[in-house]
Every structure is written in structure tokens, then in C-alpha cells.
């Protein structure tokens, strides 16, 4: 149905936190039957309120499922060559490690503690590079690092300082530069703009866009900030209570949102010239350890129907690039 090349795909992905709280077992269904297909050369945004499981989904996409998070079911495919898809959940730890930074890299929220405080940035770079290449090419990559730092407009001496000597925005840029250094096919960002003020945020967003245009790779961006998504993403997946509830191109998500939850998210955005008071989503998101029956959004939904309380809807394909899981829109097809 789509002739774009899928670079990362999940099938019925289920990743739960299984906790043993004082003798009783608690299960938090953070990623619940998620099907994603993310293409080459696009920026894919994942949006949702805090606690909806989007960071956990990101970890799962990064193939970083460690206790207490457990892979309950489903598969995660990376397209590593041109035509082979590999289920990366079956790889050995060493194989997983090698994929990181080279094939798929991670951009953290650039907080104070994300870089080793006792190492100069040069040494951090050295550790990251030397873990993936050896010998002669290591020096070449260091050359490359210097070139890249200049290209990205970072100060020349940025590698000669300690992390705490950098501003928050500068730290964030460094982590992005490091993530892009080995030209990975996928870059994953976990709220990379959240801790920054608006002016710095714009610079960082532009940097992400430039890098993507340059490398023609895929960026998966998780943030709760719909404004950032509107600026950056090509396609957006809306996540609610561990599930993707709507997925479409950015235009369609903002132009014709169909899921009531997406509509709430869009309406809560300030619009230029509109002086009305912004409405936020009523109520609060459900606990992932204690989900409501049926569609998890039904307790907050203004259009709730009988069936919403009983059964989770499947996806209705509205358009080549638009699918929604909501009883208001369609029956959906249960796979």
C-alpha cells in the first residue's frame, strides 16, 4: 500500500513493567500491542501526555529492554541491509551494543547528569568512538568529529571542557552531534527540547532538521510538546495509555484530527490571533497498572458510547496516511 522503505517496524509489541511490590505483583502495561512502521528519510513524532508510555516505547524501539521492563510479546524489526529485516529482540547483548551509535543512536534529554562529570568531552567522545571503531579509522572519525563540530556551529574548544562548564543548550547540541557522528540510519530523541528555553529550543530543532536533511536518515522524536511536533515531524503517532490511537501525516493530524484525544491535544495549542481560553484535556491519564476496560480513553471522552466501555476498537484506515482507533470513526479491523 505504501512504496516507502520501512526502516523500523514493530509487530504487536508488548513491553510491561513487572514489579514486585511488597509481595504482590504489579504489572504496568506501558507498551501494549503497538504496530509501527517507520520509513526511511522521515521524522516521526510520538506524542502524548506524560505517563502514557512514550518513553518506554522509545526504549523498546531502541531495543533497550532491561528489567524491570520485560518484553511480553511481539517483535521489533530493523532493516539493517537493504532487503533484510532482522528481529532485533533475538540479538545477543554484544550484537545489540554494536548496532548502537552506528545503526541507531540515542539523543537524551540533555540534563546536567547525562555526561560523565569527571571526563572532558574529548574523553567521552573517545569512549563512544573507540567502542565502535579501532585503529586508523578512529583518528579519521576524530577528524570528522572536529569538522562536524565546526559545521554545526559549536565552539571549537567544546571538546576541551567538562560537562558542567557548558550551558544546557550546548550540552544538548553536543549530545545531538555525538548521536549523528557515525551517520546512523535511525536517531531516536527522548524529549531533547524539553529542558530548554524557547530560543535555544528553536536552534536545537533546526539542528535536528539540518542533520536529517544532510544524512537522509530517520529521526524518531518523542515529546509531549505538540508545537515541536508541528515544526519538525513528517508523521505523528498519538499515544494514549500504552497504545497508538491515531497516526497520520503532520498536516492531517493538525488539520483533521479524528480521535477525540488528538482533538483535545490540538485544541490545547495556542493559535495565532485566537484570544479564546485554551481548553486542556479534562481528567487525568489512567494508571498503566490499572487500565479501564475497553477503550482506555473512555472515562475522559465526551462522546463515549456503550461499546467504548466494553471493547478496544481496532484501526480504521481513513486514508493511505491516516489511521485511527476509535469507535466514533469506524469499526476497525481486528487483527
Amino acid at each position: 500500500m505504501n512504496n516507502k522503505l520501512t526502516v523500523l517496524r514493530t509487530e504487536q509489541l508488548k513491553a510491561f513493567y513487572v514489579l514486585d511490590v511488597q509481595g504482590t505483583q504489579k504489572v504496568a502495561k506501558a507498551v501494549n500491542e503497538v504496530d509501527l512502521a517507520i520509513y526511511e528519510n522521515e521524522i516521526y513524532g510520538i506524542a502524548g501526555e506524560s505517563g502514557c508510555g512514550k518513553t518506554t516505547l522509545l526504549k523498546a524501539l531502541f531495543n533497550d529492554i532491561i528489567l524491570p521492563l520485560r518484553l511480553i510479546g511481539g517483535k521489533i524489526f530493523y532493516r539493517i541491509g537493504w532487503d533484510e529485516e532482522i528481529d532485533v529482540t533475538t540479538l545477543s547483548p554484544e550484537e545489540k551494543r554494536k548496532l548502537r551509535l552506528e545503526y541507531i543512536s540515542y539523543i537524551p534529554q540533555g540534563s546536567m547528569s547525562v555526561l560523565n562529570p569527571v571526563l572532558k568531552l574529548r574523553e567521552t567522545y573517545e569512549d563512544f568512538i573507540a567502542s565502535h571503531v579501532s585503529g586508523q579509522s578512529r583518528e579519521e572519525i576524530f577528524e570528522l568529529a572536529y569538522k562536524q563540530i565546526l559545521e554545526l556551529g559549536l565552539p571549537k574548544n567544546v571538546l576541551d571542557v567538562y560537562p558542567h562548564q557548558l550551558s544546557g543548550g550546548m550540552r544538548q547540541r553536543v549530545t545531538i552531534a555525538l548521536a549523528a557522528l557515525m551517520k546512523p540510519r535511525i536517531m531516536i530523541g527522548d524529549e531533547p527540547t524539553t529542558a530548554l528555553d524557547v530560543v535555544v529550543q528553536r536552534g536545537v530543532i533546526q539542528m535536528l532538521k539540518d542533520i536529517q536533511k544532510n544524512l537522509k536518515n530517520t529521526i524518531i522524536l518523542v515529546t509531549h510538546d505538540m508545537g515541536v511536533h508541528a515544526n519538525v515531524a513528517d508523521r505523528i503517532g498519538i499515544m494514549y495509555a500504552g497504545k497508538i490511537v491515531e497516526e497520520a501525516t503532520t498536516e492531517l493530524i493538525f488539520g483533521q484530527p479524528r480521535h477525540p484525544y488528538t482533538q483535545f491535544l490540538i485544541n490545547s495549542l495556542p493559535k495565532f490571533g485566537d484570544k479564546n481560553v485554551r481548553s486542556s484535556v479534562p481528567g487525568s491519564p489512567p494508571s498503566l497498572a490499572n487500565l479501564p476496560s475497553g477503550c482506555p480513553f473512555h472515562p475522559r471522552c465526551p462522546h463515549v458510547k456503550e461499546i467504548c466501555r466494553e471493547q478496544m476498537p481496532g484501526f480504521t484506515q481513513l486514508d493511505e496516511n491516516h489511521k485511527v482507533a476509535c469507535w466514533l470513526v469506524g469499526e476497525g479491523n481486528h487483527g
Binding site: 533497550d64 548502537r100 551509535l101 537524551p108 560523565n116 562529570p117 569527571v118 574523553e123 567502542s131 558542567h164
Partner: protein
């Protein structure tokens, strides 16, 4: 310059202030307690059955008063006390009259230093290595077992622990000699036989110090490593596919060891006071044994000498830690 004015000088001032306070307390204690040490001495001499002429008695009282530095007003005494200290004079010992306290301490110190320097170093190195490994692999069975053992050893006071070891190894299984620094009648020399004899006698006291000190180092290091392991810079390095040996050495250990360096300096500072009890239990001829004999014989000058030495040792160690810590931690260095 600002470093000197804002940091070094206040810190040195504090150092001397603490030493002054400690020494003043040592000066005040015999003067504030409700009995007169001279009269107590006389009483004890009478108690031992010595009878003296009244005239000779006055002479002894005068001599003792002078020896205790109890002539004149408190202020005079205080001044004389400092003058004597400034000359490095702790007075003469009572029970080995008229040997100067300095000389007694000087003969005991090599024994204490030899025992304490080795045991402190061994327990620090071994405790940190095992503790670090146990912290990194905290989910493994052997890590939990070691933790449980440390939980039993840690709370025991030196005396009870050392004494239990002595009971077990010297009386029950009779593997090691019971007392002394060397066999009775052994003549000090550089011969292999004598050195072996000394080492043989120091095994139990050394073992008690190493196990107890090692348990403390083990527990703290394990906790530091566990905490560091969950820091975001370690997680980030893992996400960047940095090899495990690099993560362990440069990210986890390098950060977790920082407070332990402080700990090492502090335990080196306690060299003059840390093992007094151990030495008494094992009749090891160092400062502890000297203290014990001083206590039994009521030799106040000698106890005062040992106490002053300990105060200077500990405060100096803390000063050294404060002044050298910036070399280990760049965060402190640049603030």
C-alpha cells in the same frame, strides 16, 4: 589569589581553630573534673602502702604539681602548657619516670604505623574492589551473600570483634599466637627469623582490622557503585554502545571512588587512634598498648600525648582531603 583568600586561608584558620579547641579541651579536662590528680596520686601511693615523712610528702606534692603543670593560676598554667607544647614537650611519664612521653611514643609508633598502614591499605583496596564488583553485579547470588556477611560484621564494635577472633583462632583452634608483637625473648634484629616471628604475631590483629575495615569499605563502595550505576551518564553511555569495560572503569568506578578517596585519607588520619583497642586485645606493642599501660598506671601526661597526636593526625588528614579534593573532582575545581 582569590582561591587563596576565599578558600585556603579560611580553611587553614579553621584547621588551627579545631586543633586549638581540641588541645584546650585536653587542658581543661583534668582541671574541671572534681578531683585533684596530685592528691589522687598521693592517695594511690598511700594505698600501695608507702609511708613517707610529712616533709618528704610536701616535696612530692610540689614535684607532682609541677609535673602536672598545675602551678599558678589557670591562665599561667595555660600559657606554660602551650609553651611546652611549642617545644614539642609532652612532659614526662609517671610510670616510667623520668622517661619523656615523647620517647615512649616514639618507640611505640613504628609498631602502630607498620600495622595500621598495611591494614588500612589492604582493607581499602580489597574492600573497594570486591565492593565495586558486588555493586555492579548486585543481582548476582555471590554479591548478596557477601552483602549478608558484611551486614553481620559491620555493626560489631572493634573490641567484641577482635576478641571473638582471638577466642576463635588463638584458643579454640590455636592457629595463631595469643599475644605480643613477637615471641617472648626474641631479640629485635633484621634477621629473617625475627621478621617472620613479628609477621606471625601480627596476623590476628591485622586480620581483625582488615576484615572490619574491609567490611565498611565493601558496604560503602557497593552502595556508591549501585547509585552511580543508575546515574543518567552511565545509562547514556550504555545507550551509546560504549563497551562494558570502559563503562565500568571510566564511568562507574571513576565516579564512585571519589568519596572513597576521602574515606582513605580519613582512615589514615585515624592511624594514631583507630587501632588502640585492637592493640590492647592482642597485646601488640604499639600506641594502644602504651595507652593501656598509661591507663592502668594513671599516667595522665602519656594519655594526653597520645590524644594530642590523634587530634593533629585526624585534623591534618581532613585538611589534606579538603585541599586535594579538587584534583580528583573537576566539578569542585572549577567552581
Amino acid at each position: 589569589m582569590t582561591f587563596l583568600k576565599r578558600y585556603l586561608i579560611p580553611r587553614l584558620f579553621q584547621y588551627f581553630l579545631v586543633i586549638w579547641l581540641g588541645i584546650t579541651v585536653v587542658f581543661l579536662i583534668p582541671r574541671l573534673t572534681p578531683n585533684d590528680p596530685v592528691m589522687r596520686m598521693i592517695g594511690e601511693m598511700r594505698g600501695r602502702g608507702s609511708t613517707l615523712e610529712p616533709g618528704a610528702m610536701d616535696g612530692i606534692i610540689r614535684d607532682l604539681t609541677q609535673m602536672y603543670g598545675l602551678e599558678g593560676s589557670w591562665l599561667d598554667q595555660y600559657w606554660a602548657f602551650w609553651v611546652r607544647l611549642a617545644h614539642g614537650d609532652f612532659g614526662v611519664s609517671f610510670f616510667q619516670f623520668p622517661t619523656p612521653v615523647n620517647k615512649l611514643i616514639a618507640t611505640a609508633i613504628p609498631w602502630t604505623l607498620a600495622l595500621l598502614l598495611t591494614t588500612t591499605a589492604i582493607s581499602w583496596i580489597v574492600g573497594n574492589i570486591i565492593g565495586g564488583l558486588a555493586g555492579y553485579y548486585s543481582r548476582k547470588g555471590w554479591s548478596r551473600t557477601l552483602d549478608a556477611i558484611a551486614m553481620v560484621i559491620r555493626p560489631l564494635p572493634y573490641y567484641i570483634f577482635a576478641f571473638s577472633l582471638l577466642l576463635l583462632f588463638a584458643y579454640v583452634v590455636r592457629w595463631f599466637p595469643i599475644t605480643g608483637g613477637a615471641s617472648l625473648g626474641a631479640i629485635p634484629s633484621l634477621s629473617w627469623a625475627y621478621i617472620k616471628d613479628v609477621l606471625w604475631h601480627s596476623i590476628l590483629p591485622a586480620l581483625s582490622l582488615i576484615i572490619l575495615g574491609g567490611a565498611v569499605n565493601f558496604q560503602t563502595m557497593k552502595l556508591f557503585v549501585q547509585n552511580t550505576n543508575s546515574e543518567s551518564f552511565v545509562q547514556y553511555a550504555k545507550m551509546g554502545g560504549v563497551t562494558e569495560d570502559r563503562i565500568v572503569s571510566k564511568y562507574v568506578i571513576r565516579n564512585a571512588i571519589l568519596p572513597q578517596i576521602t574515606g582513605l585519607a580519613l582512615s589514615l588520619g585515624q592511624i594514631f587512634s583507630g587501632a588502640l583497642i585492637t592493640e590492647i586485645v592482642f597485646s601488640y606493642p604499639g600506641l594502644g598498648m602504651l595507652l593501656y599501660r598509661a591507663i592502668i598506671n594513671g599516667d595522665y601526661n602519656l594519655i594526653m600525648g597520645i590524644t594530642l597526636l590523634s587530634i593533629v593526625g585526624i585534623t591534618t588528614a581532613i585538611l589534606v582531603v579538603d585541599l586535594t579534593y579538587p584534583f580528583f573532582d573537576p566539578r569542585v575545581r572549577y567552581n
